[in-house]
Symmetry: C2
Subunit: 327 residues, 2 copies
């Protein structure tokens, strides 16, 4: 139990499916943790109430007063005012919802907002790889591909908190259409859905017997991780599909390395569960495609915090008193 003098912070991750809350010390020591379904179809008002209730109950569970709260939001926000601008995966899209103000009033404590993947990058920077590295690029490889960039131990956000939208680097100028409205983005080539879709094609066209066996022929059960298992069991076509996706990720990494030459590139999210085949292919692509200078010193690492990167980033955000707009 912390002493009276030691401030305690809370963090909340506003996800499309669940709200996740954490109460922790400044050093990230967990005091209470919990989650609730988001139910965004009920509208922002009800979700805001649920967010406040979750944090209040976690504070009570930890028997502490909260000094500040950090909230991660899946989309575009105004960091200065703590207002959401556009959260594409939530019902009604949360245009201009004054989350910091509303939640701050309900809790009686300052509330700071940040894009969720930038918050995860901040978590990794503060409590993960950032303990031994000061320049970090974070790639969250999931349903979408999010990212974050930290230089000199500081998160790069830019004026809108959108620096680090690495899933929307364009790698195939005439590539597949992306949910963002552009095309050929990394996200269309190496996200979970992009990889899974190729698994479905191989399964349905009879080219992936091991994947068929692992899923009992049910295309709905295919995941990148299961595809990696099928590849290890001998499905050459599935292996090729994973290598192709990982090669595109390697191109993105190569472009980030020539741009920033970071110490560590963190590959997080479910797609990183592909494991060695992904990491080895990204490394090989980086070595093959960056020829201007040696890149062996750039570390490719899984997240040290896993699923907790975001929520621990919220503790760091609260502790910092938020991050304003950057020029």
């Amino acid at each position: 139990m912390p002493t009276m003098a030691e401030p305690v912070y809370a963090s909340l991750d506003l996800g499309g499916t669940n709200l996740k809350g954490l109460v922790a010390t400044a050093e990230g020591k967990m005091l209470a943790e919990g989650s609730e379904p988001t139910r965004s179809h009920e509208g922002p008002e009800r979700v805001l109430e649920r967010m406040a209730d979750l944090l209040i109950s976690l504070g009570e569970e930890a028997a502490v007063d909260l000094a500040a709260v950090g909230v991660g939001c899946p989309g575009l926000i105004d960091q200065g005012s703590g207002t959401t601008r556009f959260l594409p995966n939530l019902a009604t899209h949360w245009r201009d919802v004054p989350v910091a103000e509303r939640l701050g009033t309900a809790l009686g404590t300052p509330v700071y907002l940040l894009n969720d993947v930038r918050m995860a990058t901040l978590g990794e920077l503060t409590f993960g790889h950032g303990r031994t590295a000061s320049s970090i690029v974070f790639l969250a490889l999931g349903t979408g591909i999010g990212g974050g960039v930290a230089i000199d131990g500081k998160l790069r956000l830019g004026p809108l908190g959108m620096a680090g939208e690495l899933g929307h680097m364009i790698l195939l100028p005439d590539g597949p259409g992306c949910g963002c409205g552009s095309w050929g983005c990394l996200e269309t080539l190496a996200s979970g859905p992009a990889i899974t879709a190729e698994g479905v094609r191989l399964l349905l066209s009879g080219q992936a017997p091991e994947l068929y066996r692992l899923t009992s022929g049910d295309a709905g059960r295919i995941t990148p991780e299961l595809m990696a298992q099928a590849a290890r069991s001998g499905d050459g076509s599935v292996r090729d599909a994973l290598v192709r996706a990982a090669s595109f990720l390697g191109l993105a990494v190569a472009n980030l390395v020539v741009t920033l030459h970071p110490e560590v590139i963190v590959l997080g999210g479910g797609v990183a569960g592909i494991g060695d085949l992904l990491f080895d292919t990204v490394r090989a692509t980086l070595t093959e495609r960056v020829r201007m200078f040696p890149t062996a010193d750039v570390r490719l690492e899984p997240s040290q915090l896993g699923d907790r990167a975001g929520i621990l980033g919220g503790i760091a955000l609260a502790r910092m008193g938020g991050i304003g707009s950057q020029r």
Copy 2:
């Protein structure tokens, strides 16, 4: 004439063709300027002598003692030791030449090295657009494409000074071979030679009557700037070629914007002489391809220092006492 107490600095740009020297105050006020042919085929020893002689004569011309010297080198250097590692465009490639030590001994003053395009970025940051912006991306569009990145008013160099090698961002995974050993790099798509080569093709295949007229049919006289003139005079095919190259540059800019969301992107070098058609196409591509957030606030600008960006960057470098290796 500066007072005795005011330190005066020198800068030297070591180019493949010419050495350019400058003596200036800390504020960049020019006191003396000059150049000499590099004649790298005579070997590093003779070039180092010529570098020292140029700086000594400029110091004498300005009647000042030099407090420190900044030297821009076209390639890979070890900033910490001030040693060149690989300068591809100079005879013998200058492997492991201790330039800072040798020049420092000859001049009796500290000498600091930096990659030439990073030095130009530092010039722009210190004496150009950086006076009103703190996050800047610099693209030097010439025979090659070099670059530099500054965040929070600080040049990002990385451990080898190679962060900012933006000409080697890969934009066409199966694109043309690049001098760096990779392929599909921006440099293969939008550099002076890439653009000029397409001009040659159009001229020789009879598709560019205005370009033919402007060059009297001499393919050796084609430049991107002349191609822009031909496009304005009605050569639609030449216009298309310029738009295609500028669109690739726009893709690179789009990728830099989603990664860093800088305030200013400076398009410098001879290719920027294409003018409005280049800037307008880059802007249109940025708007079309970055859909995650508004990008109208990102300024696309010509260099404020033009040819002098590098040499003024050397003054800034000398004033800073060099920039060590960055993590």
